[in-house]
Amino acid sequence: MESASIAVGSAHAHEHHGPPEAHSSSKIDRQTLGILLFIVSEAMLFGAFFASYFFLREVSNPTDVWPPDGFELPKAIAGVNTAILISSSFTIHWALEGARKGNREAMKMGLAMTWLLGATFLFIQINEYVHLGFSARDGAFGSIFYGLTGLHGAHVFVGLLLLSFANIRAWRGHFGTKAEDHLGVEVPGIYWHFVDVMWIIVYVTVYIL
């Protein structure tokens, strides 16, 4: 059970202390491919809700004005919120560049700022929910509005959780400059970009179109 002896053991597979090193048959590393595939399945989950959205809009209520009368969406505030979330894509990129070049301060600042921007977005979104004046029970529009934005909010929350882990580990001195040593920044970063892009689609579909 001593960690030191295990480290030696894995280097000499014939001692049967650990498995042989797997042959790497692709240039892409496992975690990155894993998160990309996960994002595909997440996109399909959004697809289910978008399918519902367009059904409710185009099939069930084709002639009505959309959003139906009495539903007013704060396009401007949500637009500012969109800008906040988009800017966090740049800060996470800054953090990743910092990690690549060994600039730990840039990495830490970038991660912290991304987290704060994401939390601000979530806070404004919740504030919007409180002041919207309709709930998920109010008609099909209320349901799908809260369904889509709520699903996205849940993804922001998960993204923030992943970023929290990255922040904690960055402040505690983890992550190196080698590609495999800062996957803990890169993988949540990829997910965060996905969350941002998905918000742009949700915003354009629900608020603008």
Partner: protein
Amino acid sequence: MVAALKNPGMPRAGLGFLIGGLFGFGLVVALRAVSGLEIFQTEATGYPHVIVPGITAPIGFLIGLGCFDYWFRWASGAPTIPDDHSQHGAYSWKDYFKFNTDHKVIGIQYVVTTFCFFMIGGLLAMLMRAELAQPGTQIVDPGVFNSLFSTHAAIMIFLFIVPVFAGLANYVLPLMIGAPDMAFPRLNALSFWMLPMAGVLFMASFLAPGGAFDAGWTGYAPLSTGAPLGQSFFNLGVQFAGASSVATALNFLVTIVTMRAPGMNFWRMPLLVWANLSTSLLVVGATPFIAGAQFMVLMDRAIGTNFFQAAAGGDVISYQHIFWFYSHPAVYIMMLPGFGIVSEVISTHARKTIFGYRLMAIALLGIVILAFAVWAHHMFVSGMFAWLRVPMMITTLLIAVPTGIKIFSWLGTLFDSKLHIESTSMLFALGFLVTFVIGGISGVMLGMIPLDIHVSDTYFVVAHIHFVLFGGSVFTIFCGFYHWFPKMTGRMYDERLGRIHFWMTLVGMLGTFIPMHWIGMEGMPRRVADYAAQFGNWNLVITIFSFILGVAQLIFVYNMVVSWRFGPKAGDNPWRAKTIEWLVSSPPPVFNFDEIPRVVGGPYEFGVPGARHAIMHDGDGATVSGPEPAVAGAASGGGGGEGGGS
């Protein structure tokens, strides 16, 4: 006692289950108190104080079992402990009840667990058949009957057929591609342990007021949105089973792409690996849709949203579109891994290379693409857009092309070969060809709109689905069980009992499901406990054959259990197969390989002089072609055939 509750394991998992449940319950009570609502909701379908613990208790179980220990440590920024492999491999039966990262242990956990669900689902089916033996209601009342067919289908689909293939592939796929384990071993273990949680939720619905969920496995809205509490357990169970399925698929894809042995390019992969690659693409792309559909139903039920409430502007048909956008690809999720198994078995026992290997792989990918374009053929009578009917009919009929390619490739492989049917697995593979072709042809019939309208919601549909899911998937599952049983256990099963099992299963299956075509054509509706007296005789016949089918599975269980314990030693390669899993010991070593093998040729080059698939140890190449054949008969197979792979 305290130590048992502190360390990961079953006692802590039980505690976690309790704490998780209480936490969820407390959360609902607290939130409702804070927001000034009545503490206990009294509406018929809501029950948040049951639904929320239904989510948190299983999560508590998983945390208690130790699924998240490593990740918690990682997330808190603590230095990671070098893996001491203490959670890898099984050294006693107790290790199968733990969080274990060894793909071989997980594979067996999957197979055994899902087979238990198969037995439960089978018992539910036999209860139904007992009720249907005579017209009128004798054993169960119509409400219970609704619960029976719903839980039967949900358990068989979500807890048996889909995951059992994941289990079989879990065991053999990393070995086949020369990987020491799956890409994400901890995620792999988590995927498995979500499955019993889904089972617990499905079973718990029997205890719910109003009975188990009874809206069918399809759970169509608005039937499901207005159903009693049991339906919520279905909604939640599907989430756990679906998450398990997606995580496993992702794991397979990453493993296949990044961890193949040197020399194992895509055109040297065994067809089982190709099949699981295709299946995993389908799972990653489609399964989130059922998660979405069930989320919406759950929200309609629990918090009063209006996704499917027509009166409030909701759209009922949209449920069917979203549901079938998963559930049609799902039938290929339930079939493609079986294609892979059958390809392995037929090639090995015909002693011939697969006829048209590359076309077999391309046909799999063709099915993956077409699978996403046929969903609405389940909805010809639903009142959906009329313009969508004919395109869906055409794509549905098109899908017979890649499937037909596969059938003819298997026939081409068998053609002019010297069959070795010394193994029950080969019997099941040949039986599969017969029954699956029948199921496939009735599928083409159902794809045609006029016939579909005529037989909609009749026993013809029941007959079709069972010919493809029982005659197709379950036959290939048995085929795989028998084929890899010696590899998994190191022992040989009793061939005579295997043969009895096969013939009873085949006869029982044909006797049960063939007459259903006829009574379906005459209009006997499915999903109803009672029926017109004119169908009485056929139903009695069906019930008798279905009981033969049920008894046959007991023989299988006896054979597997006794052979696992007392069977004769199997040897490393009893079928003289070429793929890598047969080139290691039976059962394989804990870490699969001492060194990663080197792949030097195609996987099915039987009868080609000097052909090798893989070299296990560099340096001693002469001794690697496998041990002496344990089964009599020289490798004489046809040397020719269509060498598509090379």
